[in-house]
C-alpha cells in the first residue's frame, strides 16, 4: 500500500510548482494552467486522505472541485478572450483595467 505521506509530499511539490508558475510566468494562459495544476495537487491529497481514512467524502469533494474547476476555466478563458480583443496582448502585467 502506498504510504499517505508520500502522496502528500507529491501533492505539496505539485502545488509549489503551480504557485511558482503563477508568480513567475507572464503569459496569462500559462498562469491559468498553473492554477489548474494547483487544483490537481489538492485533488491528489483528497484522494490520499480518502484512501487512508476509509471515507468516501474526499471523493465526493473531488467531484465538486472538478465541476468548479471546469466552470472557472470556461469563465476565465472567455474573460481572457474578451480582454485580448481590446488589448491585443497576453501579458498579465498589462492587464491593469481595474486600476485607476
Amino acid at each position: 500500500m502506498i504510504p499517505i505521506s508520500h502522496v502528500l509530499v507529491l501533492s505539496a511539490l505539485l502545488f509549489s510548482i503551480g504557485v511558482l508558475g503563477v508568480m513567475l510566468r507572464r503569459n496569462v494562459i500559462v498562469v491559468f494552467m498553473s492554477i489548474e495544476l494547483m487544483l490537481n495537487a489538492v485533488n491528489l491529497s483528497f484522494v490520499g486522505f480518502a484512501r487512508t481514512m476509509d471515507d468516501m467524502t474526499g471523493v465526493i469533494f473531488i467531484f465538486f472541485i472538478i465541476v468548479v474547476a471546469a466552470a472557472e476555466a470556461v469563465v476565465g478563458l472567455s474573460i481572457i478572450l474578451s480582454i485580448y480583443r481590446t488589448r491585443k496582448t497576453l501579458n498579465i502585467d498589462e492587464f491593469n483595467l481595474l486600476k485607476w
Partner: protein, 170 residues
Amino acid sequence: MIVFFYLFALISLILALGVLVFKNPIHSALSLVGTFFCLAAIYVMLNAEFVAVIQVLVYAGAIMVLFLFVLMLLSTKDNDQYALKLNVSRGLAVAITGVLMIQVLTAFMDPTLRFGEPGAYPVERIQEIGSIALIGQLLFTEFVLPFEVISILLLVAVIGAVIIAKRRVP
C-alpha cells in the same frame, strides 16, 4: 505496485516543471495533459477509479482541449516576452515559496502525524458495492443539496461564458 507510484510521481513532477519552463504555451499545455494522465494512473493505484476516469475525461479531455483552442485562437508569434526570467522580486517569490514548501513538507513527513477515526468505507466495502454505485448513492442521498447547487453553478458559468466572450456589436 509501489514502484509504479514512484515512477508516475517522478514523471508527473518532471512534466509539471515542463509547464513552468517551456517557452511555448502549447508545449506547456501538452506537458500539463501528461501530468493529468500520470495523476489519473496514481488515482487508480489509490483505489479511486471514478476519479481517474473523471480526470481523463474532464481534465485531460475537456478542459485542456478548451485551453488549446484558446491558445490557438490567441497565438502570438513572439513567445520570448513570456519566457521565464528571474530578477530580484521573482527570486524573492521563489524563496518564499520554497520556505512554505519546506514548512508543509516537514509537517507531512512527521511520523507522529495522527488522523481521526477511520470512516465507514474500507476498500473491501467499496469493492463490494462498486465505487461508482457508492458515489452515486452518496451524491443523491447525503450530498443532494450540493449536487443541485453545483448544477446551478454550471448553468451560470455556461451563460456567463457565452455573454462575456460574445463580440460586442456597437
